[in-house]
């Protein structure tokens, strides 16, 4: 990354990354509680526990690089710097939603921050990511696209076609599989004929099998960073499998009771925030300061939520905008 952007980059330091993970964690916890209060219309899939992947990856991207993800995409939008208020407004169906109330929780998008959207058909956005990277290659812009998807997505055709074409055309795209161990209710291990959902497939595309501890933000930063720079150099795509775990159910409506208690415990012990906190303290940061930073974040998020909730609904007339480039939706005269 050019030094210039580094200075401005809030994710440039371990502390900054910890802070960003905290922001995401507290934001998602707030969404979870708002959901329980019936204030979120429609499903909400939270990335609780997977913050290190979003932040570690975002930390190696240039402002003009691209990322794209799934319905579990809030963390990725926030990691790129998307507006918390606009995202909350979208989730709460208030005016000023980041998708104008037309996307909801599953389609959070912030093109302004290089996050090209959250897609809710499993696998569908991998071919789209390929196209984004294809454009960068055609124009030789040096931009890289990072595409996040789940472990369950490796079994769908679009995954195969996308990774295969990216490899064939040697495109600057880094595929990051967030292996949180589950589809909706089924453990991924029961749904693949190989050991690992993504890494075990890499050789089928002439790619190296890459596995990283997805709950270690610094490890993610290093591994994704290397892949991004390789892609930028023109060395083609990478397929990275990041091991992680979702702290809650598949969506806010799911208690996740199908998960063995000891398994949950094991993973709780590997919480990316606890680990980064410990690392920072070891590096000499004052723990109490870190705690009060967390407190400040909690307070700001809930204050933000109150303000957004106080807002009004979107103008019903806007339902007819944004279908066509002319801004409207007229299909006949």
């Amino acid at each position: 990354m050019p030094a210039a952007s580094l200075d401005l980059d809030p994710l440039a330091t371990a502390l900054g990354r910890h802070r960003q993970m905290l922001v995401i964690r507290r934001f998602l916890e707030k969404v979870d509680s708002l959901y329980r209060q019936g204030k979120v219309h429609g499903p909400a899939h939270l990335g609780l526990g997977q913050e290190a992947i979003a932040v570690g990856a975002a930390s190696v991207l240039r402002p003009d690089d691209h990322s794209i993800g799934t319905y579990r995409g809030h963390a990725h939008a926030l990691a790129r710097g998307a507006d918390q208020r606009a995202i909350l407004a979208e989730l709460l169906g208030r005016d000023g939603g980041i998708c104008a109330g037309k996307g909801g929780s599953m389609h959070i998008t912030s093109v302004e921050h290089g996050y090209y959207g959250s897609y809710a058909i499993v696998g569908a956005h991998l071919p789209i990511a390929v196209g984004m990277a294809w454009a960068s290659r055609v124009r030789r812009t040096g931009q890289v696209t990072v595409c996040f998807f789940g472990d369950g997505a490796v079994n769908i055709g679009a995954f195969h076609e996308a990774v295969n074409l990216a490899a064939l055309w040697s495109l600057p795209v880094v595929f990051v599989c967030e292996n949180n161990q589950y589809m909706e209710y089924s453990p991924i291990s029961a749904m693949i004929p190989v050991e690992r959902p993504a890494a075990s497939r890499a050789s089928a595309y002439g790619l190296d099998p890459i596995v990283v501890d997805g709950n270690d933000v610094e490890a993610v930063r290093d591994v994704v960073g290397a892949a991004v720079e390789a892609a930028r150099r023109g060395d083609g795509p990478a397929l990275i499998e990041a091991d992680t775990y979702r702290l809650k159910g598949h969506s806010a409506a799911d208690a996740g009771s199908y998960r063995p208690a000891d398994e949950v415990q094991r993973w709780l012990a590997r919480d990316p925030l606890t680990r980064q906190l410990a690392a920072l303290v070891e590096q000499g940061h004052d723990e109490s300061e870190l705690i009060s930073m967390d407190t400040a974040i909690r307070i700001s998020v809930s204050g933000l939520a109150d303000r957004v909730l106080a807002g009004g609904p979107p103008d019903p007339a806007t339902v007819w905008t944004d279908v066509w480039a002319d801004g409207g939706s007229q299909w006949r005269n």
Binding site: H41, E90, G104, H107, A120, I156, E184, P313, P316, V323
Partner: protein, 340 residues
């Protein structure tokens, strides 16, 4: 079955048919644990792993597996979690399943059911999880299309679909899953291709499918208060289509309002309207009217959903417009004059 919800009608009917015919075998994502909409609860425990199969997220493989197994004589019932996902396996549905009996000159039979949640209902599922896609399937000959409107209808039509020797797509409107009804005891079985007269009337025919049948009923009640007598038809299936029922009703009422949840750009309602415009021309005393979903991808914010979703209110005002309309000069004005 006694009192059932739409959801439990699915589960109970699957159980009934699995008990009745050991060839009935289920596959789908997360179905052994009951499925996302809890329509397959308990079936693994009762029928064992040879009858209920969890699959990876591989809709092409799911639908293809159903097709191949059906060719071998099993009677697979595959769950497609949300009807929107038919798009990822559309080739298997419309180019393989719909055509293989025909293109082999009748050498194979495909007794299979594809079923799952569908529809909008302003539940906040948005554009990729909220579509009603019965119209997609109706574009392609070779598929039977069922979309029930009540728990009893679900039980009777799903049983019929599973016993049918042809491929049947069963659409379960997700906003209806919670609907309760006393369906009485014993086996439910309804014929495919026979519309249901939900309510008789003489001034206008309201045609609905799935959730819109409710909207038609609610509209009919309000219209009755205004002295307008509306007949309500539940099509039940689009293929086979009981066009006669629609034409006969229009023969009596002279007016037709079709209520469809899908966008009106090209919905199943257009097929009904076109048939009426051609075959009921002399009976119609007013324009054929469609009340359809808005022609945009579905939004999520409640206030936006309300604009594009169809509603009883829209049906009521559509009918008012037709009945207010001067029928003088209309071919059948006289015959119907007394009724206004």
């Amino acid at each position: 079955m006694a009192e059932l919800t739409f959801r439990s009608a699915v589960q109970a009917t699957l159980a009934q048919e699995m008990a009745r015919d050991e060839r009935v075998t289920l596959l789908g994502e997360d179905i052994t644990s009951g499925g996302v909409f809890k329509t397959t609860t308990g079936l693994l425990d009762r029928f064992g792993p040879d009858r209920v199969w969890d699959t990876p997220i591989s809709e092409q493989a799911i639908v293809g597996a159903a097709m191949g197994a059906a060719m071998m004589g099993l009677r697979p019932v595959a769950e497609i979690m949300f009807a929107d996902f038919y798009a990822v396996c559309w080739d298997l549905v419309v180019n393989e399943i719909a055509k293989t009996r025909y293109m082999t000159g009748g050498q194979v039979s495909l007794p299979l059911v594809l079923r799952g949640a569908s529809g909008f209902g302003s539940l906040g599922f948005g554009s990729q999880h909220g579509q009603s896609v019965e119209n997609w399937a109706m574009c392609v000959p070779g598929l039977k299309i069922v979309s029930p409107s009540t728990p009893a209808e679900m039980a009777g039509l799903l049983a019929a679909a599973i016993r049918c020797d042809d491929p049947v797509l069963v659409f379960e409107h997700k906003a209806l899953y919670g609907a309760k009804q006393d369906v009485g005891d014993g086996e439910h079985l309804l014929p495919l291709g026979q519309a249901r007269v939900v309510r008789e009337g003489s001034d206008v025919t309201l045609v609905g499918l799935s959730i819109t049948v409710r909207y038609c009923e609610q509209a009919a009640l309000r219209l009755a208060e205004e002295g307008i007598s509306a007949e309500v038809l539940d099509l039940r299936s689009l293929v086979p289509l009981d066009a006669r029922a629609v034409l006969d009703s229009v023969g009596r009422t002279g007016r037709l309002v079709i209520v469809e949840e899908n966008p009106g750009q090209l919905g199943w309602g257009a097929a009904i309207a076109a048939i009426a415009a051609e075959e009921a021309f002399d009976d119609l005393i007013a324009p054929v009217t469609r009340v359809s979903g808005g022609n945009v991808p579905w939004p999520v914010a409640r206030e936006l959903e309300a604009v594009v979703d169809v509603s009883p209110e829209q049906v009521v005002s559509a009918v008012r417009a037709l009945t207010k309309r001067a029928t003088s000069g209309a071919r059948k004005g006289d015959r119907h004059a007394d009724q206004r």
